[in-house]
């Protein structure tokens, strides 16, 4: 469970990116965080990643208080999260298999475990046949699938996706969202930061809307018209 209680984040004194935000996300939930640029959605993402420190309030992720977490414990905490970015962030000099294996390699997994789990993960994201290809040989959607496979290979409890469909056409974007839904159905909590109302409308999931650092609505939306 993720509990964000009365969280305020100030990057510069007086300039609040988040104002007294409170959100609770249960285990196994699929949640969209929506908002315009500067609404604070990426700040929440960074706080959950423990990339930034909160100014006040409390964030608890699966019984771990992020505010009190020592820096030395951060790598261990991050192994319990999976992260996907808009720009994929794949290693250009490594093929699909190596990109996914990389995530296991850096956390010290054995070669045997890597050989077992990477093909299974590639099968799950539908890239078994392309395991030898390099990122520049793949479409945007396929690159994002590799990024998702890399995020999931260490079996995280929570998957954080920051604008995962931002660089994709609507067909590929829906494909990625379907994949995230499948992952969620397997028990992983999925949090997607986005500003695409088209996707939000089609998915029919819980949506947390943000504006100027505050939560302005929270609930399941169907056919909500987002004024840009």
């Amino acid at each position: 469970m993720i509990e964000i209680s009365n969280v305020t984040k100030e990057y510069v004194e007086g300039n609040k990116a988040l104002r007294n935000v409170s959100i609770t996300i249960d285990d196994g939930e699929f949640v969209f965080i929506m908002g315009r640029n500067g609404s604070g959605k990426t700040t929440i993402f960074k706080l959950l990643m423990k990339e930034e420190e909160l100014t006040s309030g409390k964030i608890i992720v699966n019984d771990m208080n992020l505010g009190k977490m020592p820096r030395s414990y951060v790598p261990k905490y991050r192994r319990r999260l999976g992260v996907v970015f808009q720009d994929f962030r794949l290693l250009r000099d490594r093929n699909v298999y190596e990109n996914v294996a990389f995530a296991q390699r850096v956390v010290g997994a054995s070669t045997r475990r890597i050989r077992e789990s990477v093909p299974a993960m590639l099968q799950m994201v539908g890239l078994s046949a392309k395991y030898k290809m390099y990122p520049h040989q793949l479409s945007g959607g396929e690159q994002q699938r590799v990024a998702i496979a890399r995020a999931l290979i260490n079996r995280p409890e929570v998957l954080l996706a920051d604008e995962p469909t931002g660089n994709l056409d609507s067909y590929n974007a829906m494909g990625i969202m379907k994949l995230l839904e499948e992952i969620n159905e397997m028990g992983t909590t999925v949090i997607v930061v986005t500003h695409s109302h088209e996707i939000v409308e089609k998915m029919n999931k819980r949506v947390i809307r943000m504006e100027r650092g505050c939560v302005i609505s929270d609930g399941i939306e169907d056919g909500y018209s987002y004024e840009d």
Partner: protein, 302 residues
């Protein structure tokens, strides 16, 4: 750390070197220059120290005593002198022995001239002690101590030999420390630059590693491997050069400047090489390790 992780870090470190080959080569060249100079000074210093050691066993101090002292009194004073910590060994030369030595030195072939003195030893009152010191640099203060003793008439010693050898050794030592220090600084700076460039190349990879949950050690390891490899290669090159150059240089010096071979007894390479190689490799490893370890710290923000 798993063996597979170890090999992974090794592979990445080698990849880093290949990616920035010119920076790596510049670092290797500087370390090589630094360690070559170290090896040169090391060779000179151990050879000079060897000469000093030989001098310490051959350059002695001769102490003469007042003429009215009996042999027993001289021996008693001699045993007092022998208790001093500076003394390595000492030998008593009686008046009769002194006369025998003189006869051999000055009356060789003219023994009949010496016979005229048989009844009247011209060396009477010349009983002495020949003293050898453990450390020739202490000669000055030891001579001062002897001169202050009651019963000591004269102290013979070679001041220039001791002073020359010790000051030459000190100058060589200081010079090598200064030059090696400057080169060490340059080497660390260059390795640090190379590591910074490698870190810039791997910025994306490091960022992904941080998000995935890699520890600082795991992110740092390829850079430290890179630094250590550069340091070790930088140390190995001058050692190979020294291995082939030392014997030839010694031979050249001895044939070209024959006077040197009378003063100097050059140590054979096999006697100094293990120490030189060990120290040089440790130096290379140390430079590589510390330069990379501390440079990469600023890229480890989690």
């Amino acid at each position: 750390m798993r063996i597979s992780t170890f090999w992974y870090c090794m592979k990445q470190g080698i990849k880093n070197i290949c990616r920035n080959i010119w920076f790596s080569l510049a670092s290797i060249a500087t370390i090589s220059a630094c360690i070559f100079l170290f090896c040169m000074f090391f060779s000179i210093m151990v050879n000079v120290q060897n000469v000093v050691r030989i001098a310490e066993t051959t350059v002695g101090i001769t102490v003469f005593f007042d003429e009215d002292m009996t042999e027993n009194q001289i021996r008693a004073l001699g045993s007092e002198i022998g208790k001093r910590p500076e003394v390595s060994s000492m030998e008593f030369v009686s008046a009769a022995e002194a006369w025998e030595i003189m006869k051999e030195d000055y009356f060789e072939g003219l023994e009949e001239l010496a016979e005229g003195f048989e009844e009247d030893n011209p060396m009477a009152g010349s009983a002495s002690y020949q003293i050898f010191l453990k450390d020739i640099s202490k000669q000055g203060q030891f001579v001062a101590y002897l001169n202050n003793l009651d019963g000591v008439r004269r102290v013979n010693y070679s001041n220039s030999a001791a002073a020359g050898l010790t000051s030459f050794n000190t100058v060589i030592g200081l010079l090598s420390v200064v030059i090696i220090g400057v080169l060490l600084g340059v080497s660390v700076f260059l390795i640090s630059n190379t590591i910074n460039v490698a870190a810039a190349f791997r910025r994306n990879e490091n960022q992904i590693m941080r998000y995935i949950g890699a520890t600082n050690g795991m992110i740092r390891a390829p850079f430290v491997v890179e630094g250590i490899i550069i340091g070790l290669i930088g140390a190995a090159i001058p050692l190979v050069v020294m291995f082939f150059l030392y014997g030839q240089a010694m031979e050249y010096l001895q044939t070209r400047f024959q006077i040197l071979s009378q003063i100097f007894q050059f140590l054979p390479l096999r006697q100094i090489f293990p120490y030189m190689a060990g120290t040089a490799m440790l130096l290379g490893l140390g430079i590589g390790f510390f330069a990379s370890f501390f440079t990469i710290r600023k890229h480890l923000r989690v």
